[in-house]
Symmetry: C2
Subunit: 536 residues, 2 copies
């Protein structure tokens, strides 16, 4: 289409510009960080930019150039935050390795990234000593620790950057150049790398900051409890700094007491993470009689929000919202913030929608649901289909892959099955591979889990389809009880009867611990393998 060329500036979107902005516009805003066995760190955006410049000088001095990859094995700390800007700032790529992966996958990702430098937190030393001999590209291994706590024969980050200049002549990047490399942790096959660009990160940061998504303001105190190594923690470092929030980084101290200490002492208003963490937090409050103080919002992703958790937070004056996304979507897909149309239904119905849908559509990422024939389905909240997404922060191809990950029209198949309602809210009814095909009809394993999770005494419920001689597949259920709870099969069945169709009732219920993947999700593959013969 031969358009008239626009005459606005050719200014590429650049990640370091976010921190440079915060350092002048929110100069004295605080950043507080726990670290592995160090005192609480406290500084401001201006100092963070100074130290980011020092890190950039140090990396450049090591011979790191644009296009190189660097791996971090690090928790949610201020040093990791600095690397989020220093590495893309010099045109290099930060691979945020996932320490929860099995050794073989961790080694695979670092070698696949071809990283020249590996930076790790102190309590990852054991892992790195174990895998080091198999790392094929790493030239420098550096401990993210202060000078006095650096182990003998290791290089420490603080010592390395200490004498570097505090300003850096940041190059202007190609906005489509790579900035972050995040691997998915598929339960089958090798992990796959998603290579975020400066453009995708900045656009995602803009979108994530809007009121319909995270809605940050400079008055927010944001404590990311989702890992920085998971899809850049929903892009919080970028959306947060763009909006001048105060950051509170909890390192890897996600137990209830540690979180509560930071929430109270630092006046945290916003946090987010997987449900497990918030279960621990609510348990802690219940045990100690504590209150969440300034905490206003908890955004929960990774798996569905248990209703009793949402209600418990509601009672404490904290809004719970869901978020859905994938590494492949940077990760913002949808988030369950209210709209006037939903609010008009009344508080009860609003809560129902906010708590049971993954979220509503956000500008910048298109959603489409299609049936088996590829035909788009209506947004009626009833018909479920395969969820496709498209947009500037959705991947087009995995790193080092030859085939595109999207179809000819740009749609990426998420592997999720969902509905979209007339209010624009999306609800995942299953993973494509987890939906249970019983006699030609579909049973949603997630709906079954949610129903069971609402039964008092149930900590986690997991459902999977296993082979059945007559119906092809039938659901089985695993129940993990809360400590001290004695809920039994009869109670579960009675509870389910009130919530799901009779033919959805699981054929077997097992009381045992639920296996989780490296990212904390229910590992259905393990369940299917473990109970493959349960209904034979």
């Amino acid at each position: 289409m031969p358009m008239l060329p626009g005459l606005m500036q050719d200014a590429p979107l650049s990640i370091i510009d976010i921190l440079r902005y915060a350092a002048v516009a929110h100069a004295r805003q605080e950043i507080v960080s726990r670290n592995v066995d160090e005192p609480l760190w406290r500084y401001d955006y201006t100092s963070a930019l100074d130290r980011t410049a020092q890190a950039a000088h140090w990396l450049t001095g090591l011979g790191i150039v644009a296009g190189d990859r660097i791996s971090s094995l690090a928790w949610n700390t201020h040093r990791h935050f600095e690397l989020f800007f220093a590495v893309p700032g010099i045109g290099a790529v930060l691979h945020t390795a996932n320490p929860r992966l099995p050794d073989e996958h961790l080694i695979f990702t670092i070698n696949h990234a071809g990283s020249r430098v590996l930076l790790l937190d102190r309590n990852m030393v054991e892992i790195v000593e174990r895998i080091r001999p198999q790392l094929t590209s790493v030239e420098h291994v550096v401990l993210l620790t202060d000078a006095e706590r650096t182990l003998p024969e290791w290089i420490g980050y603080e010592a390395a950057i200490a004498d570097q200049p505090t300003n850096y002549d940041w190059p202007v990047p190609d906005e489509n150049g790579g900035a972050f490399l995040c691997y998915t942790s598929g339960t089958t096959g090798d992990p796959k790398g998603v290579l975020y660009s400066h453009r995708s990160v900045v656009l995602h940061g803009f979108a994530a900051g809007l009121s319909g998504a995270l809605g940050f303001s400079a008055f927010d105190v944001v404590m990311p409890c989702q890992s920085l190594y998971h899809a850049t923690a929903w892009g919080l470092p970028f959306a947060g700094a763009m909006n001048g929030v105060k950051f509170v980084f909890p390192c890897d101290k996600f137990d209830g007491a540690s979180l509560q200490e930071l929430i109270r002492d630092e006046s945290v208003t916003f946090s987010g993470g997987v449900p497990t963490i918030w279960t621990m937090y609510l348990d802690h409050l219940a045990r100690t009689g504590g209150t969440p103080g300034s905490l206003k919002r908890v955004v929960i992703g990774g798996s569905a929000v248990p209703r009793d958790m949402a209600e418990a937070f509601e009672t404490l004056g904290v809004k719970v919202q869901q978020i859905w996304g994938m590494t492949e979507t940077s990760p913002l897909g949808v988030i369950s913030t209210p709209t006037p149309a939903v609010a008009a239904l009344g508080q009860g119905e609003e809560n129902e929608i906010i708590w049971t849908r993954q979220g509503r559509m956000q500008f910048g990422i298109e959603l489409r649901i299609i049936d088996d024939a590829g035909k788009p389905l209506p947004h009626d909240g009833e018909q479920s289909g395969a969820l496709l997404v498209r947009g500037p922060w959705v991947l087009k191809r995995y790193y080092r892959a030859e085939a595109p990950a999207i179809d000819a029209d740009g749609w990426f198949d998420t592997g999720d099955i969902c509905t979209i309602d007339p209010y624009g809210f999306m609800r995942i009814t299953d993973r494509k591979k987890d939906v249970i095909k019983s006699g030609g009809e579909w049973i949603s394993s997630i709906d079954l889990e949610n129903a069971a999770a609402g039964c008092p005494g149930v900590k986690v419920a997991a459902v999977a389809g296993v082979y059945h001689p007559k119906w092809e597949e039938r659901p089985i259920m695993l129940i993990e009880r809360h400590d001290g709870a004695d809920v039994g099969e009869e109670t579960i069945r009675a509870h389910l009867a009130g919530h799901v169709a009779k033919w959805w009732m699981p054929d077997r219920i097992f009381f045992e611990s639920v296996p989780l993947t490296a990212t904390g999700k229910i590992d259905k593959k393990v369940i299917r393998d473990r109970h493959a013969d349960a209904l034979k």
Copy 2:
């Protein structure tokens, strides 16, 4: 810099995508519009997209293709809103002509744009009949009116689009392609065209929606009282639709009673515009004893906010914020939303900063102040210098100009003189051409005006420098009184004595009406010409 190519989607930013998003994610959200002598119009985003598609089909049917220009001479209405999406949607460029320009400038802009179609509101017929013979490129002239009110021998918009299909296969634009052509109304020389691209408009929309700027949510009801033909009314149509706001368009009915009717009936929460409109509105409330009801925020741009206006709104529970920008900056430059650092100073000091600064820095547009030698000045709130700006929604060149409008590093000289304080707030102390050079020292005409405007009885104060035989230039002041006020020279001088340095005192004070430019700003050139010999 040879970076690793990122692997995210090559999805161009596109203006029509904003409305397409709102039409699915906020389908039933209302858009209400006054129109010239028609009943109130009321529909929703889905219908707006349908009609936008119809307009696109109609334009395509006229032979309009990508790259063509179309001029609008229109007020703030739903039809103008539709053109904001339909025209860029087909890859063409919307030139939003300014009906307040003198004929000669209006003719110049339409011819300079080379527009093939001219769409006008009914009360612009007289203008168009007058200038039509001098329009060199216009092939079609269309009235933005319904079928029954179309004048004989005119084509009406409603009749034209009525039978068109309600969906359109929107092409994917080059994001750097032109979308809007807005002319500056310089007081000297021909107007200059700024050609916004899809990219600049979408990025600006993201930034404008953030909490530190306009901070829109789907719960906002936004009534733009700045003209759509002025730099796309701060980009409100885009930032608003991205966030799913309800829009209320007031047409050209900016009198107090008309605004109050919409504010009360439609539960308006947000509005913005030049101070003149809000003076009329506050007068109306004072006369009628009305209250602003749901109105929460009024953002004022174009000229400085009079303190008594800010205080009057404060008393009524409405926050007043300033915004600064130019046609050349799309227009968002800075906006005076509070930060924690400013709030920590206490409400009095916060108000002082919010009301007396143009605003604080926003992510995406860099600010720099330099001295006469081009050296950057510190952000101390004291030293004033020439304001330069840079970023993806700042122009690089005027339309059909050969020379760039920016320097080699991308900086655009705004022509304003300002300070930036340590909190990141910018305060304009003068226009470069208006600053008064008295014996080698600078006097801020704006500071003098603001000081005088605080004197009871003063409606508008204007200050300009005129020739002085001894001091080179000295200030003179024009005072326009409120109806019925009898404030005199002695009172003004006594008031000024408490606010400005003695040597800033104007040499002469005239009580007469203040000349305004076509955009409602004080026309200092006219004042300087009128009183050129005042101090000889």
